[in-house]
Symmetry: C2
Subunit: 176 residues, 2 copies
């Protein structure tokens, strides 16, 4: 049994003073921890007929690609503006200062597909909510939103549950 | 036997007139093709004691995460500036207009580690060469540089071989 929390490096005051940054690269760098995390993230969904794993740019790609193979699903990238070459749908979301957009290819999902939305971490949930909106515009059936790390104090998981999304995470950091 | 080339969408005149953009998202979206591609990309290395897969930001993450799990290796992200939270080494490389940088955490590899460098596509090879330099500064032993798509007309694979790197790819597009 791997203690995933111990595999994550905390960097104080990054990217701004007072923020405890949870650095997942140290977990991913550990072959045993990374393989076990992918297995544990997939476990609830192995019999759910997941047809696509939608990973959020860019750390969600690292988990999402591996989860897609494990689940026998395709992979769908949800990306920052200007990164996808074909026609896209877009959704804006708020950042602390200003806003950003998430894009999805218009043919990224088929109606009724069983999709997992994946990112490394959920904080306020703005990006993930944009991902949910994109997948719903494509008429996907979102099985769950899956994160390696949840920061429940920031309310992202609650925010997703309020719009009817099941949320799964492996690790939770509360307080600072 | 999957015809990988047929799974890749070509987008003419993207991002600029005269460029035939090879869109790998259509291959990744196909569960069978994606799983087979990961298996075929890993096949030459299953008995090579690969300890780390270094993926290049951002499409290299999709392949690299899956390959790391398949090979029982850790995953190392090589990223654009400002994306890695811990101390980094950096290497600059030329773009058509201007230059960019690739960063690696200073503790990303241990001396002598057997590393695969992975990206979705090799064109001129500038980004991949920056990745090679970073891994060599970390004293890694680069087993191979692995790409889903090679554009041999643009000389990237030749450029890597000239600096002593083994290059592997699954698909090759020549001409325009």
């Amino acid at each position: 049994m791997i203690d995933y929390k111990k595999k994550i490096r905390t960097i104080p005051d990054y990217p701004a003073k007072g923020i405890m940054f949870r650095d997942v690269t140290t977990l991913m760098s550990d072959a045993d921890a990374f393989a076990a995390a992918i297995e544990d993230l997939c476990k609830p969904f192995t019999n759910m007929n997941v047809t696509k794993v939608a990973g959020i740019d860019a750390r969600g790609f690292i988990l999402g690609g591996a989860m897609a193979v494990r689940l026998g699903a395709g992979f769908l990238p949800l990306r920052k503006p200007g990164k996808l070459p074909y026609k896209t749908l877009k959704e804006s979301y708020q950042l602390e200062y200003g806003s950003d957009e998430l894009h999805m290819h218009t043919d990224g999902v088929e109606p009724g597909e069983h999709v997992l939305l994946v990112d490394d971490l959920i904080a306020t949930g703005g990006t993930a909510e944009a991902g949910v909106k994109l997948l719903r515009r494509g008429q996907a059936d979102i099985v769950s939103a899956v994160f390696l790390v949840d920061l429940p104090d920031l309310g992202g998981a609650r925010r997703l549950r309020q719009i009817g999304i099941d949320v799964t995470s492996l690790i939770s950091f509360t307080g600072s």
